[in-house]
């Protein structure tokens, strides 16, 4: 094991369903998450990304293969591999502050005053100081995402797993969140797995991109993204970024075609992708 490898997946397979109608969702997936780097996972929609998130977080266990976090096998959910969820999972009955301290408070692994100052500084970092005593329903979509980031960050996880965290936000807010997250990652390096279906988002944020194959999901290609840091969203217009995008889009398109051959349910998706490529 290399010192810079935080999380390793080796030949992981997972299938669902009854014996006579077994559907393989993840097959022979091997990848490595590097320390202090942002690894993005992209793939055609419906390819099994959510299952991969569940496996990484320990909500599901693999049928075959091994997942290790710092050398230890992942056997269930823990604060070391925290998920920031697709739709907001802030407890609606707790204020921003109460949500942020939820984990450490229940685990009781942080002295009270230390927790208080840690929470306050993290709430400051995500720019929610004035909203610390508001309930999630009183926050806008973007603020909810930031509150959720704060709730994860305070636990100092070994790996942050972002499951399409900016999905469902309007285009403007989404861009702002991407910029915000980019700055956050560049200020203090963290080990990140960022699952998304937006290629541009992946290119601008990631150090490396894992492009998945169509279902059953396995690694189709690993791309190193060597755009200089600090980055900004304008870099998406550079030739390099365009080259990454074109290349990845080609693969995604090919993979999407495969699902098209089998059935016609994905035709809308296919059409959408071909138009953009």
């Amino acid at each position: 094991m290399n010192q810079s490898d935080v999380m390793i997946l080796e030949n992981v397979s997972k299938s669902f369903g009854e014996d006579w109608a077994r559907e393989s969702v993840v097959e022979n997936l091997s990848l490595t998450v590097k320390r202090d780097q942002l690894t993005a996972i992209v793939g055609p929609s419906g390819c099994g990304k959510s299952t991969i998130v569940n496996l990484l977080a320990g909500f599901e266990l693999p049928d075959e293969g091994r997942i290790t976090l710092e050398g230890k096998p992942v056997s269930g959910p823990s604060k070391d591999s925290l998920v920031v969820f697709q739709e907001t999972a802030l407890m609606p009955w707790l204020t921003t502050y109460q949500n942020v301290v939820f984990g450490p408070q229940l685990r009781g692994d942080m002295p009270k005053n230390e927790l208080k100052s840690a929470a306050e500084s993290i709430i400051d970092t995500v720019g929610l100081r004035e909203f610390r005593d508001k309930y999630p329903l009183q926050l806008s979509g973007g603020m909810q995402r930031r509150a959720e980031l704060a709730r994860a960050l305070i636990n100092q996880p070994l790996v942050m797993i972002m499951d399409e965290p900016f999905r469902g936000l309007d285009a403007m807010t989404r861009q702002l969140m991407q910029e915000f997250y980019l700055r956050l990652c560049e200020q203090e390096a963290r080990t990140n797995v960022f699952v998304t279906s937006e290629l541009e988002e992946a290119i601008i944020l990631a150090d490396s991109i894992v492009v998945l194959s169509n279902k059953p999901a396995s690694v189709r290609e690993m791309l190193q993204i060597d755009l200089p840091r600090p980055r900004n969203l304008d870099m998406l217009n550079s030739t390099e970024a365009y080259e990454y995008k074109r290349h990845a889009m080609e693969i995604l398109h090919e993979e999407a075609m495969k699902s098209f051959k089998g059935t016609d349910t994905n035709s809308d998706f296919l059409e959408a992708y071909s138009r953009r490529a």
Partner: protein, 288 residues
């Protein structure tokens, strides 16, 4: 995005006055008043003016109200006689005991059924078997089981209310989005943490919906029980006045029931609003 120009939150009476003044600027109170007036006028016309079938035997509003506020009531009961208040008090006390028992038993049972599949497998079939038995069918058994007037009546009201509370609470737990459990799980919460910090608060909205229905059901079965076997209480007052043809008193007791029932369910509602600030504030103030 700044919140600093908002003045500090008013408290107590100030807040109440502010809310009342605001409410008076909406059509709601006037429409409610108009609705009640229209109902009273129709009621008056049908029963006291035109006296058409089947309303000609029903005491009209004027007749009931005059009797109600009569210092020397023709039929013996009004706002100025002691027995009127005894009946209200006795019914309210029974409701309070029954509702407290039903909530104390029903909420925990529902929480556990919703939380643990195993527990649900044990308990739910029994609940579903007993729940459809109409509360009136329990009356003879209740009388056989308990001596006196008080216990069987409270027992019946508790029973009816308990089923509603338990079922709603269970559905409340089942309605909680899986993602909250997942979030709590990966933040490292233990099982009992999840129960107290996710299951209970997450089920509260359903629990309070259930409690509002259950207090209505408690009144329903209480009155039914009081009518069949009772010594005091509003149900007894209705039945007793019917037996001796005091129809005016009977209608008075019915309207009193309406008022008291309304007040109790408003109390449950406001208790719920207090416990669910997170919903109140979000809905009431339209976010930040």
């Amino acid at each position: 995005m700044s919140n600093q120009n908002v003045s500090s939150r008013p408290t107590g009476l100030q807040y109440f006055l502010y809310k009342s003044a605001k409410a008076l600027k909406t059509p709601t109170p006037y429409l409610a008043f108009l609705g009640i007036t229209l109902w009273l006028v129709t009621y008056y016309l049908l029963c006291e003016q035109w006296r058409i079938f089947p309303f000609y035997k029903v005491p009209g509003p004027l007749e009931v109200i005059t009797e109600w506020i009569n210092k020397d009531p023709i039929w013996g009961t009004s706002l100025f006689t002691e027995d009127y208040y005894i009946n209200i008090w006795v019914s309210c006390r029974r409701i309070f005991i029954a509702f407290a028992l039903a909530t104390g038993l029903g909420v925990p049972l529902g929480l556990f059924m919703g939380w643990s599949q195993k527990f649900k497998d044990y308990a739910f079939p029994i609940l579903e078997l007993l729940r459809p038995i109409p509360i009136l069918a329990w009356v003879p058994l209740a009388i056989v089981m308990f001596a006196g007037f008080e216990t069987p009546i409270i027992y019946l009201a508790t029973l009816a209310s308990f089923f509603v509370t338990a079922l709603n609470t269970m559905l409340g737990v089942e309605s909680i989005d899986e993602s909250y459990f997942r979030a709590a799980g990966c933040l490292g919460s233990k099982k009992h943490h999840i129960f107290l910090n996710v299951v209970v608060p997450g089920a509260l909205p359903y629990i309070f919906t259930g409690l509002q229905i259950s207090i209505g059901v408690a009144w329903f079965s209480l009155v039914a029980a009081e009518m069949i076997s009772g010594d005091y209480g509003l149900g007894y007052m209705i039945m007793d006045s019917y037996m001796v043809n005091k129809y005016t008193t009977m209608v008075m007791a019915m309207l009193t029931l309406g008022f008291v029932g309304w007040i109790t369910s408003a109390m449950v509602r406001s208790a719920g609003d207090r416990m669910m600030q997170w919903r109140e504030r979000a809905l009431g103030q339209g976010g930040a």
